[in-house]
């Protein structure tokens, strides 16, 4: 079968074999291929000489440059720490008021805080810190546990209902489910609670229920929420007389809250974030409130 033929298009001979119509030209390997191979091999050899490369029993060639990825990482971490050392020291030493007054330090807080917040907090509190049902907004004026920077830092450290020895503890009892109040009473106290936030419309429509609810409230709720429902940041009991709602202010949700109770969980960050990072976050959250709407990422 070995019949060499000349390919009319290229003028080259075939190698003389034919497989079901396929032939191959008897052409040398083009020289650029050899050059290319030589260059790639040269590159490799140079690299082997300079870098750790070939195993030798239980050790390996270290390379002339003495590079090793572990030492490189250690070095880079040290450099990064060096770069951050200045502001780290100042933020750690200063108290909250001083830092808030220092525009240069606050720029650092905004930069570092946004990545910290995005990576650790935004999953629950939203990318802009506006929260959602069950997860408090951190940019409004309503605070469950107090809005002073020290209180916020403490909330971060110990969490709420978290597995931390010092955790903040809070629970809204399940008045209906645990049969402390009957449905009727819950409806009445719910109407009263809603009237605290929207005095005009609610009081007008259900004045009777609101009056009855007020008494039930004084007996059952005031201990935690305060006489006028203004809240108590020691018990994490929200202010019911403002327009901010954690779970929602519509009749249905308020009823559910009172009937089934509530117990929010906020993780404790003491063992996950360094003290400095928690401090930056507390400052960042307070600062977030002053950002114009569109600027919050």
């Amino acid at each position: 079968m070995a019949i060499r033929e000349r390919d009319p298009h290229t003028g080259h001979m075939t190698i003389g074999h034919e497989w079901n119509g396929i032939t191959e030209l008897n052409r040398p390997v083009p020289t650029p291929v050899w050059w290319f191979l030589g260059a790639a091999a040269l590159f490799s050899v140079v690299f082997w000489v300079l870098m750790p490369a070939w195993p030798l029993g239980d050790t390996y060639t270290r390379g002339l440059l003495g590079v090793d990825q572990r030492t490189t990482v250690v070095q880079k971490l040290a450099e990064a720490e060096q770069q951050q050392a200045g502001w780290r020291r100042r933020i750690a030493a200063a108290d909250f008021a001083e830092i808030e007054a220092d525009e240069a330090l606050m720029r650092v807080v905004r930069g570092a805080g946004s990545a910290l917040f995005g990576d650790n907090c935004s999953a629950c509190h939203g990318a802009a810190g506006r929260g959602g049902p069950g997860y408090p907004s951190l940019v409004d004026d309503a605070w469950l546990w107090g809005g002073a920077p020290e209180s916020i830092a403490e909330t971060l450290r110990v969490g709420v209902n978290a597995p931390h020895p010092d955790t903040r503890v809070s629970e809204m009892p399940a008045f209906g489910h645990d049969q402390i109040l009957d449905r009727e009473a819950i409806l009445q106290v719910a109407a009263y609670v809603r009237s605290l936030a929207e005095p005009v419309s609610a009081a007008a429509s259900h004045s009777q229920a609101v009056a009855a609810g007020k008494e039930i409230f004084a007996a059952n709720c005031a201990a935690c929420h305060g006489d006028n429902g203004q809240g108590n940041s020691d018990a994490g009991a929200p202010n019911l007389s403002d327009s901010f709602w954690l779970y929602g202010g519509d009749p249905q949700t308020v009823f559910r809250t009172i009937f089934y109770g509530r117990k929010g969980h906020m993780p404790a960050w003491e063992h996950r974030l360094a003290e400095l990072e928690r401090k930056i976050l507390a400052l960042y959250i307070r600062d977030l409130r002053s950002w114009p709407e569109g600027a919050r990422r």
């Binding site: 079968m1 070995a2 390919d7 298009h9 290229t10 075939t14 190698i15 074999h17 497989w19 079901n20 119509g21 396929i22 032939t23 191959e24 030209l25 008897n26 052409r27 040398p28 390997v29 083009p30 291929v33 290319f36 191979l37 790639a40 091999a41 590159f43 490799s44 690299f47 082997w48 870098m51 750790p52 490369a53 070939w54 195993p55 390996y60 060639t61 390379g63 590079v67 090793d68 990825q69 572990r70 990064a80 770069q83 951050q84 502001w87 720029r107 650092v108 930069g111 570092a112 946004s114 990545a115 910290l116 917040f117 995005g118 990576d119 935004s122 999953a123 990318a127 990422r297």
Partner: protein, 551 residues
């Protein structure tokens, strides 16, 4: 299909199916508290179905010797159909996964529909279901044609093809139930792995036996590539899947390697799966269908030989580039990186050999979408290997690793190279198999080509952008030395690219559906060739050589 089998083969088929039914029954009985029980039932059903087909076909007359003067093409037809079926299924799952990444809440809160279970359904379905069936089918065609010899028996090609598809089904049905070894591209558990070993050994034997019967003095280079694919995949598969099942009635097993050894074994496997499954096999395909379709001699015989040995040798060492900057010792990474750089030479030599073969046939490339599929595939092969060698350089990898850049590279290779060369080969093959003058509609081939090309480009550019944006966001520092972006912000930035990718995937998928319709219509309705191409016959001297049953 049974009518072609000899009496001996029919009996053997029954025995094999019976043994499998027994295995299935045992697994189903002892594993009824475990997901393995479901797989036992699937095996049992497949075996009983096979027995039923064999028995009902056994009443047909035993074939006389005249069929030995023709190639055995029935399993190839079924393989092509299976490949297209898997393509549509697995690409649909791929596109689903793509939308899921853009809209992560799309899981209906069910375990089976989570990203982690759907993703391997896509990768296994597409690589093994689509790619594997295409490779098996075309290899049966190529080995017979280039040897001018019929396969030695009628049973083993069916065993290989159907057994292999059973493996794929076990794999893909396992993931939604949570069965996985958690090794990428090697997810199926121990019993499926053992089954694949058996199938693969029969495949290798079938290939070698056909070559041994060849009527040509030399073995054509396409066969070298197919053989490398079969042989190396066998070695990779066995070593990477060495594992101890926790019990014989349980699907769960643990690998015998641990820690960084396990990681290195996995990526030695993973990279060579790319090399010998997604590259060598498809190069074999290219070396047959490109010259036959273009009617041109191979540009250089020597170039094909040195690139074959170059690819085989260099790929083996490159796996560690998947583990840059990890616990893997630095020196292993250096070796992986330098061998990846040298690997570019034979890769480009192969792509160049293919493209230069087209010299003198460029007018055909312009007019014939089938040949154009293969031409563009060779271009994407060159492109993705360049990209791969570039990404293997450690500092480049520090940017690309963990990002969508890798996914862009994968799909430049997978869509642009693997899928396009396969579609080209299938369009060349289908008219031959069904003895038609050509495809039912060459306009539809053209439509498929443009959908596929557009889909690939949209997909790859979207992921390149997304990968770079992601990689750069992760390493941007503010003036005070802290990270400038949170991870969520990089996710938000990727969202539009994810939508673009999913749209590109949809284009690619619709192209494949058009292809299926066209193949169906060709098999059913296209005008047949008048003369049964005399050249498409094995060279046998019937009288002097009668076959033993089961030889």
């Amino acid at each position: 299909m049974v009518a072609q089998l000899t009496q001996f083969e029919r009996r053997l088929a029954l025995i094999i199916a019976g043994l499998m039914a027994l295995c299935g029954l045992v697994l189903a009985a002892f594993g009824h508290r475990d997901p393995i029980g479901v797989h036992g039932l699937i095996i049992l059903a497949a075996a009983i179905g096979t027995m039923f087909v064999v028995i009902s076909g056994s009443f047909a007359d035993v074939p006389d010797d005249s069929h030995l003067g023709r190639y055995y093409d029935d399993p190839i037809k079924v393989g092509v159909v299976l490949a297209m079926g898997w393509a549509v299924f697995a690409m649909a799952v791929g596109d689903w996964v793509a939308w899921l990444l853009a809209y992560p809440e799309m899981t209906f809160d069910a375990a089976w529909s989570g990203f982690g279970r759907l993703r391997p359904m896509h990768t296994t379905g597409i690589i093994f279901g689509f790619g594997g069936n295409a490779l098996i089918a075309t290899s049966f065609h190529v080995m017979q044609r280039t040897s001018r010899a019929r396969m030695p028996d009628q049973l083993s090609p069916w065993f290989v093809l159907l057994g292999y598809n059973l493996f794929c089904i076990l794999a893909v049905t396992g993931y939604p139930m949570g069965i996985t070894q958690s090794k990428e591209y090697a997810e199926p558990e121990w019993y499926a792995d053992i089954w694949l070993v058996i199938v693969w050994v029969v495949y290798l034997a079938l290939y070698l036996r056909t070559l041994a019967r060849r009527q040509e003095p030399h073995i054509y280079v396409a066969n070298w590539y197919y053989l490398a694919f079969i042989l190396v995949v066998a070695v990779l598969h066995i070593v990477n899947n060495l594992a101890m099942p926790i019990a014989l009635a349980s699907a769960k097993s643990f690998p015998i390697f641990a820690g960084v050894q396990d990681a290195m074994t996995q990526w030695w496997y993973g990279h060579n799966a790319v090399a010998f499954f997604l590259t060598a096999g498809f190069l074999g395909m290219m070396y047959y269908y490109l010259p036959t379709r273009s009617g041109r001699p191979i540009f250089s015989y020597r170039l094909s030989i040195i690139s074959f040995w170059g690819i085989t040798f260099f790929y083996m060492w490159a796996g560690s580039h998947h583990l840059h900057y990890t616990a893997l010792p630095h020196w292993v990474q250096t070796l992986g990186m330098t061998f990846s750089a040298m690997l570019l030479v034979p890769s480009w030599a192969s792509a160049g050999n293919a493209l230069l073969t087209l010299n003198g046939a460029w007018h055909k490339v312009r007019d014939d979408a089938t040949l154009r599929f293969m031409m563009v595939a060779a271009v994407f092969y060159g492109l993705s290997t360049f990209e791969g060698s570039f990404m293997a350089i450690r500092p480049v990898n520090s940017l690309s690793h963990y990002t969508d850049w890798t996914v862009a590279h994968v799909h430049a290779g997978a869509l642009g190279w693997v899928a396009l060369i396969t579609f080209g080969a299938i369009y060349a093959l289908v008219p031959i198999l069904w003895k038609r003058q050509g495809m039912y509609s060459s306009a539809l081939v053209e439509v498929h080509f443009w959908l596929a090309l557009a889909g690939t480009l949209v997909y790859v550019f979207a992921m390149w952008n997304s990968g770079l944006v992601q990689g750069l966001m992760w390493r941007t520092y503010s003036a005070s030395g802290t990270l400038a972006y949170s991870f969520v912000e990089s996710l938000v930035a990727m969202h539009p690219y994810y939508i673009a990718r999913a749209v590109g995937g949809l284009l690619f998928l619709s192209g494949a559906v058009v292809g299926c319709i066209n193949i169906w219509m060709t098999a059913r309705h296209a005008p047949g060739t008048a003369q049964d191409a005399v050249r498409d016959r094995p060279l046998v001297i019937l009288a002097s050589r009668s076959l033993e049953p089961g030889e």
